[in-house]
Symmetry: C2
Subunit: 386 residues, 2 copies
């Protein structure tokens, strides 16, 4: 096992009918900004419940944070926070709203005129020591951002991650019933996103991290079991509760501590989203199967372990087992109606050049857990994903 | 899944050669009390390393915290903390030292003349809002107290638990190499203790908590795999690292959130320890197999799941499967040289009366996850454990 630090201070409030606890969780005299996305939280009543729970606190709304939250949109919120002297932000939404708020709480405390530095040069480079306090109400299980210190911001034609312990949410309310009204497509994306988050921390090389491996395998198995059910039967509380909790545990540090990680699938996927607007999870569903195929030699031991423990596949030669488990994984994504080929999204072969160039511009020229995934290999993965 | 709150703010520093980081972790100008047990930390050099890492901070020692830490011993430390105006306590040791320090940091901030109220009437009854800051250096993997808010204090002839979010350690350093010098018996006890902690949160009734169940099963499987190895080969880093991390994850809230829990094995075990001085883990190894036997009807579904997923036992009638898996569990404990019968520890049949009375005095008359474990059933469990 590798050395590690683990420190996750976010307070999780999980279960049915927990919104009323906002009154205890948000400071009594706070002036609150409620940040949200496209307005579905108003349509389905979540917004009203949140406002009720906040009692007589002064509230300002900031809606319109889009999927893959845009720097320019978020900067408008930063101005509101500064001008209105906001004390507390409540992010009500899915991964994009919460990721966006992570940027907002940092940028609102940064005095320089280049807030894009937060994700271009790293949060530490800003010198910011304290952010605006915030909590979240999660309405879309997927990214795990409700219990971690990570964010991805869209800027010009790129998607840029940043991470700092400063932006752990103080609390996150995870009420699975708030997600019942989600479109099937978003739920399917959530299942795939959580699945691939686990794979990025698991599909590397063995370091005898038994707790980490078995917990990762447990989440993968659970997602396979409940994935289709929770899409088809959105009102089934237990299936949805399992999705919500698995998605959070998939990326809060628990399974990734003490083991190598490989975020190459995300890095290639981000280019697909940046250039073609494909949903984040869809981009991951395209890249992951090919990634396992192309990297079968480097990831052999874990691929065999994954085949055996998650899919119960142990018959055949090493290559046969790996072929089978890649096919199973692809089939799982397809069974959720998440397509796994670039061509399914209308992306042509001649679009690959610009995506490879996008990787190059971000310095992603030797990525993966071994640092041996070159631009040539990335190109090959895009090509084999057509 | 049941509703739950999860909030665990302890910072874990895990791995080889981490003690030097104490200099960053402990406040610069703190006057530090180093609390420890019987002195093995001095014999094996850990104490010196800790003192080195603390640089020129003023240090006071408090040794002699015994296994099953005694109220009277701890009150001496409370007086030192008050008289010497200690700012920070460093608990260096195993579960007893850390449990003891949890009491010390509370009691040092309590002005009343009945500090035993902390565990007799509950921490909340003291009105204490803030405790003395403390961190830990773990030298014995077992109890999980290094990353939770629980403590058990020995007082007169009883063992009394208390719990409050105030007493989460600020940090815990988990360096597996610090545990290499432990006696085999203590390591075996640690394996059993961690195993039973998982069982108390798992062996109840199903509530479709998939992450929780599979993570619990993963810890149990890992402990079975590495238990004997880490006792026989104390210098094997990976086996010991897995024990340390599994023991922490067994009782930090991760597997117990959202599922029923049954601490009856601990409650009966505490009586054995209180009256006969049997090690805590030994008492659990005695009670658990009988508990599963006597409660086979109430715990049927989870016993079958445990048999299948942890021990790969699925052939036979329900009772046959349960018989087999209880035998396997007992055999596992015995394979670690932890005996599983009261008679192995010289406890006679006529000692049972006082242990049942001990339960009665603590109000433990209808315990377990269903509240249906009466004193009569507890008596039967003691009798069948002879």
């Amino acid at each position: 096992m590798q050395n590690f630090n683990f420190h996750n201070p976010t307070h999780i409030i999980f279960g049915k009918d927990r919104l009323s606890e906002l009154n205890k969780l948000v400071p009594q005299n706070a002036k609150v900004l409620i940040a949200f996305g496209g307005g579905s939280i108003k349509k389905f009543g979540t917004f009203d419940k949140v406002v009720d729970a906040l009692k007589d606190r002064e509230i300002i709304e900031f809606g319109g944070i889009e999927p893959n939250p845009q720097f320019n949109t978020l900067m408008k919120a930063v101005n509101v926070v500064k001008n209105e002297k906001i004390d507390f932000i409540l992010a009500v939404g899915g991964g994009s709203v919460i990721d966006g708020v992570k940027f907002i709480v940092m940028a609102a405390k940064y005095d320089g005129n280049d807030p894009e530095r937060i994700f271009l040069k790293g949060a530490a480079s800003t010198g910011v020591k304290e952010v605006v306090s915030y909590g979240t109400v999660l309405t879309l299980p997927a990214t795990g951002t409700e219990m971690n210190a990570n964010s991805v911001i869209s800027y010009k034609t790129g998607k840029y991650p940043f991470s700092t312990p400063l932006v752990y949410p103080i609390f996150s309310i995870l009420d699975p019933t708030l997600t019942h009204s989600l479109p099937k497509k978003q739920v399917a994306n959530g299942v795939v996103d959580a699945f691939v988050h686990v794979m990025e921390q698991y599909m590397t090389y063995p370091v005898d991290g038994r707790f980490q491996d078995r917990t990762a395998e447990g989440i993968l198995t659970s997602l396979i079991e409940i994935g289709k059910k929770t899409i088809d039967e959105p009102e089934d509380y237990d299936a949805r509760a399992n999705l919500v909790w698995c998605a959070t545990m998939a990326l809060n540090g628990v399974i990734g501590s003490g083991v190598p990680q490989d975020w190459a699938t995300h890095q290639l996927g981000h280019e697909i989203t940046a250039f073609y607007g494909v949903d984040h999870a869809q981009s991951l569903a395209v890249i992951l199967p090919t990634m396992m195929d192309v990297r079968r030699e480097q990831k052999k031991d874990k691929l065999i372990q994954y085949a055996d423990r998650v899919w119960n596949i142990s018959e055949g030669t090493t290559d046969e087992i790996i072929d089978k488990v890649i096919a199973q994984t692809r089939e799982f994504f397809e069974s959720l109606n998440v397509k796994t080929r670039l061509s399914d999204y209308g992306i042509p072969a001649n679009g690959i050049d610009q995506m490879v160039k996008g990787l190059e511009e971000k310095g992603s020229t030797s990525i993966s857990e071994r640092g041996d995934l070159t631009l040539d290999i990335s190109r090959k993965i895009f090509e084999m994903s057509l």
